[in-house]
Structure formats: C-alpha cells, structure tokens
C-alpha cells in the first residue's frame, strides 16, 4: 500500500482499508424523499411507483405491523438506529438502461470503479445494478431470455408478471415475521425478480450489485427468486456504500422458492461501509429433492444481523449454508443460519467461520429445528471462530429444537487464536507479520472460499487481505 503506516494517522489507515468509501453528488437526482417515516411516506412511495392497489394495501398493512413490533432486544445494539433520520426513497435516474453507455455518467463511473461492467463481460449471465432505491441498469443473456428466464427488478415484475409475483410475494417471509421484514414490506423498492423455468440450467451466475450513495440512506430492496422444477441458478449479490459519519440502513427481504429437483445457490459478498446497519431477512423454501445453498460472506457494515433460513418442505430436500464473517474495528457481525426440517429425510449442513480483529465482534447465531413428523433427518453444524487479538470477541449461540427422536444432529464449535508458532513459522520463511497473519486468515476461510466460483474467490481473498492490511502491530 502506498500509505506509510508509520506516519499515517489511524483514521487514515481505517479509511484506506475500505476502498469503496467514495461517493457521487446527489444534485441531479430525480427524486429525494424527506427524512423520516410515516403513513404518508409509505403512500407516496407506492404512488410514485404507480402500483396496483393490492401492493399499496400490502405496504400499509406492513407499516402497521412495523409500528406494533418492538425493536429486537437480542443480537446487536440497535439503540442508535433512528428511523426518523433516514431517507426512505431516492431515485437517481429516471430509467433503467440496457446499455452502460446510457447510464448517467456519475453512476456509470461508480460501477466502473466497482468493476461491474468488466465482470459482466467476462463471466456473468446477467446483471442488475441498483443505485439507491432503483435499479439503474439491467441485462440478461439473450439465449436465457429466449428460454423463458426472467431476470428483472421487482418493481417491473409487478407490472410485467403480475400473477407470478402476486402468487409468491410475501409467502415465504410474511410481513409479521419480524420488525425489519415489516419495514421492508412497507417501503421496499428495487431488488431482483428471477424466474427460471422448468429444466433450465443457467451455467453462469446472475449478479446484482447494490450501491448506497447518499448519507442517511435507507435501502430496502426486495428479491424474489422462483426456481421451477429441475432448474438451476446461481445468484450473486455484492454491496458497498460510501463512508459517512452518520448511519445508513440496509434492510432487505429475500424470498426464494426452490421447486422439486431444482437447485439454487445464493452468494452474498457484503462489503458495506462501517456506518451501515445491515438487517436482512433471507429465507428459502426447498421442495422435494431440491438443493438450496446460501453462501454468505459478511465483511462490511457497522452491525449485521442476518440468518439466512432454509425450510426443507418435502422429503429429499437439502439445505446448506456456508457463512463467513469478518468483524474489524467497530463492527459487529451477528450472522448465522436457520434450518427447519419440515419433512422426513431432509438434510442440512451449516458451516460458519468467523474472524474478529481490532475490537470487532463476531457472533454465530443458528437454529436447527426438526418438526415432529420429520423422521430420518440429518443435520451437521460446524462453527469455527478465529480471534486475532485480545480486544476482539466471538460468541456462539447454537439453538437446537427437536420434536423428533429419529434424527442425527452433529454440532461442533471451535474458537482459536493465531498461534505464535504459526506466525513464527511463516515469518521465518520471509513473510512479514501482516502477510503471515493474512495468510493464516485466508487459510482459515479457504474451505469456504473454494466453494465460490474463481472470480469471487479471488475477490473474497482480496477483501480479506484489505481487512488485514496495516492492522497488525
């Protein structure tokens, strides 16, 4: 790195570690909501979107549920989150474009810096770029469109595929599920809608990229993915935001339906700046002999509370969650997984690896539930934590609810520190202390990273190295 660590101020190093902390001007925005949330704001968002009445009613009902639910008192510290200090809707441009050349300059440059158009050329089957509240760019390979694959933003989906959306929207995660699901249901905007028809296997990933640009912004995308029988898809999302001294809120809802013999993998590389509250509800329903996988990498944000869930609905369904959390200075990653065995002969696996450093806190919170009639289920949970210094913290909260005797559940947890002997060994081969620590950390998450497609594995390792840089002393 160009920064001379011996002379740089600590805050300089902190910002240097996060590469995406820049922002654009908001002057040319098409619409900026005032701060704060009330019934009128919900109605205004709905009106701006010219939605059908059912969606408007859905929002308003969710708003009431949001008000009626208390703030969660578990997980992370939400006491500084002020719902009235947030912009709930911002629109930077009028239209969604199909060519990067048509995307407004500022915004296009941002995505260039994030490397999205380049990645699209190389290894993606389709892209959605959401900037603030709306999707500003979208593409899908032609042959996939011909096969009936739908990859669009959720607002357009309501217009273009009303039956499909209405049949599934809010069925996997109802508004009353939790306070933040209710909030999202009331003010949602953007997000991806994917439908993969029967038997269609999409070889390359579909990627969505979420970018917050403004200060005190709330981003509430809503994603719905339906993978029809025997079909398969890999969806990847990335997220970044500028570094501000005030807080932003990202609260998404992701609903996934994986029908019989279908496969869905959902990969997240979450790299919000350290002033973003990331409170996300993600859930999938997996039907007979299907496979649902969450690959969840949490590197950024101030506080993340996220526990991707899989409901195993019919025999033979399999669920797998691989979760990596990295908590640096001022960060709390409260992440984990939830597996609900609703049918016999279903299986699940959770592998969680967390790293905490410079006073960061990483918690694993997981639930494995086996319902009464669900015989012959298998579940395997492994969580490993690596703590890099005495200031940092790691906790494990594994919950198991079993209403059934004939199940096989394994749970292993380990907490380790980087051993002095490992550091010495690597340093005695010419690695600096920082390189040696980074190598040990990279090795620690390697079993998960190797599950990622090459490009994302490289990205993940690079992000971890950035997190580690200039931090060992």
């Amino acid at each position: 790195m160009a920064t001379d660590l011996s002379t740089a101020a600590p805050e300089e190093i902190g910002i240097g570690d996060y590469q995406y902390g820049f922002h654009d001007s908001t002057e040319n925005y098409t619409f900026k909501s005032r701060k704060g949330l009330d019934r009128e704001m919900v109605e205004q968002i709905s009106a701006m979107k010219k939605e059908p009445a059912w969606m408007r009613d859905f929002r308003l009902e969710a708003y009431d549920i949001f008000l009626s639910k208390p703030m969660p008192s578990w997980g992370g510290d939400l006491s500084h989150l002020d719902f009235q200090d947030i912009h709930y809707y911002m629109k930077a441009s009028d239209r969604q474009e199909q060519s990067w050349d048509d995307v407004p300059d500022d915004i296009r440059k941002t995505y260039d810096r994030l490397g999205i158009p380049e990645a699209e050329k190389k290894y993606l089957a389709g892209v959605k770029a959401q900037y603030e509240s709306e999707v500003v760019y979208g593409s899908l390979q032609e042959d996939l469109a011909k096969k009936g694959v739908v990859f669009t933003d959720t607002d357009s989906a309501i217009r273009d595929y009303p039956e499909l959306v209405r049949e599934h929207f809010g069925t996997v995660i109802p508004s009353f599920d939790n306070k933040f699901a209710a909030l999202n249901s009331a003010v949602w905007s953007g997000g991806s809608f994917i439908y993969v028809p029967k038997g269609v296997e999409i070889e390359f990933p579909l990627q969505a990229y979420f970018r917050i640009n403004s200060e005190n912004m709330g981003q509430f995308e809503r994603t719905l993915i339906i993978v029809d029988e025997g079909a398969s898809v890999h969806y990847v999302e990335g997220c970044t935001a500028p570094t501000y001294s005030s807080e932003s809120l990202h609260s998404a809802v992701v609903e996934i339906i994986v029908k019989r013999k279908a496969r869905c993998r959902y990969t997240t590389i979450q790299n919000w700046s350290n002033n973003v509250y990331n409170l996300v509800t993600k859930r999938a329903m997996a039907y007979g002999d299907s496979l649902m996988e969450w690959v969840d990498g949490n590197l950024g944000s101030k506080l993340t509370m996220k526990y991707p869930a899989i409901y195993l609905m019919e025999p033979g369904a399999r669920g797998e969650t691989l979760s990596i959390a990295f908590a640096g200075a001022g960060q709390h990653q409260d992440a984990g997984a939830k597996m609900v065995h609703c049918a016999p002969n279903t299986s699940s696996r959770i592998i969680s690896k967390s790293i905490s450093k410079s006073g960061g806190r990483a918690s694993y919170r997981g639930l494995v539930k086996v319902e009464a009639h669900a015989t012959g289920c298998k579940s395997n949970v492994v969580c490993d934590a690596l703590i890099l210094d005495p200031e940092s913290r790691s906790d494990t909260y594994p919950y198991i609810e079993i209403e059934q005797e004939h199940v096989a559940i394994e749970h292993e947890a380990s907490v380790s520190k980087i051993a002095e002997e490992q550091l010495l060994y690597l340093m005695s081969r010419g690695m600096t202390e920082a390189e040696a620590s980074a190598m040990i950390v990279t090795g620690f998450i390697e079993p998960l990273v190797k599950e990622l497609p090459m490009e994302y594995a490289v990205e993940m390792n690079r992000l971890i190295e950035l997190q580690m840089e200039g931090s060992v002393g």
Partner: protein, 275 residues
Amino acid sequence: MTASLKINDLHVSVEGLPILRGVSLEIRQGEIHALMGPNGSGKSTLAYTLVGHPKYEITQGSIEIDGTPLNELDACQRARLGLFLAFQYPVVIPGVKVADFLRHAITNIRNPNRKEGEGLIPMREFRKELKAMMDELGMDGEFARRYLNEGFSGGEKKRMEILQLAMLKPRFAVLDETDSGLDSDAVRVVSEGLRKLAGPEMGVLIITHHERLLEYNVPQFTHVMLAGKIVETGDASLARELHNEGYSKVRLRHPEEAAEEAARAQGRAAEPAGV
C-alpha cells in the same frame, strides 16, 4: 567473500527461566557444523533464538550475520538476510496450499526489499522450479496442492522442510533433527539432498542424535551442548565418539555443567504434576 554467522556469549531465557548460558559459535558459508547434546540441553532453544522466536529472550550476548546484528530483527527480517531453520516440529497451517506458501516465501527471500502487495515471481517459472525440486527429492507433485503440513506424516513434514531449504537457498541453514522420524530410505534422500544443496554458499548447523546425516555431510566441527553451554568442540570423530559412547564421558569431563543438568532435572521433577 564468505559471510559468517557469529554467535557471541548468548544467554537466553524462556518465560524468565535461563536456558542458554553463554553460547559462542561462528559458522562460515561453506562450513558444516554438527551440534549434539542430550535431550533438553538447549539445542532447539538455540535454533529458535537464531530465527527470532519471540518467546526466547536474549538476556545477554549477540547474533550477527556478516556484521549485521540480528538481536533486534524479527523472524522475517532474519529470513531475508539468509537464515533458515528446518524445524524439529513443523507446524500445520490449515487452508494454505504448499505451492502458494512457497511462491510467497521465495518471492520475499529472493527480493528482500519487496513491499507487501508487490507481484510474486511468475507462476510458470515457479511451477517449473518447484516440480524439478520435488522430483529431485522424490516427493509426489501432489504435495504442492495440499495444505501446508496438514495430515503430513512425520517424515513427510521433514521432507517438506528440506524442500523449502532447497527452494529458499539460504546462506545459513539450521537443521533441527531433520533426520529423526524418517525411515532409512528417507534419511538417505534427505542426506543426499542436503549434500547437493550445501555447497560453498551455505553454512550449515546440523542438530542431530543420529549418524547417517553426518556420514553424508561430514562436519568440520562438532559441538557438544550440556545444560545450555557448548562444552566441547571437535571434528567429525567427536560426533562418532558420542554416537558410540553416549554423553557419560562428557559429563565426567564437565562436572559443573553436569551438576547444572541434574539440578534442572530435579527442578522439573519437583514441580507439581500437570504443570
């Protein structure tokens, strides 16, 4: 010009406990030295201290390479000055592939002024070199893709140390019981490997309890350590004598150190069990 590794009146403590009590030794490039001594006499302590293990505190004396003092340098800096230790107990680094590790190590050692993040040596060149070296040491190429020392047998770990030595080509190599735990074929491979590597450019310190390695790599100097001191220095015949006769004569010739050795053993025995 040949460089030298100079150890002068070295006193070392571990967690406040003095282990080495005035060790002096000079190794020039091109020389082979053997270091022998009973279990617990301090041989590994010397090796760890040389490479800069933070737990081993130098309370007195100095180490230098070619006039550059090492006392204040960390393990990385010492390695970049050309010092290498083949560990008695190599550690496992989970998830780090042998090839990735070695490519980093070689890049740093060959370009000691490299800053973090600067490019690594070209992949093709590295692969070729690695493969040639593994063939020479009779190692299966598959090891390059495995995680460093994870699930390696004792002998495989030792070979991995020799592979690193061969790739890093240090000016000074310390081998801490690299020959123990090896089957006799492996001892031969390692011994021959070392003989090929140890030319005029390398000074070698071999810590061993066995004979074979020294038969292939005949030391010009043999040092005997007892209770944290080098009590005798001779040539290859001294090594043979110790193999054949053990340390009882050495103890008789050095009653003060023998008494200290006994006292240390006593002290340990007096500690409550389980500590």
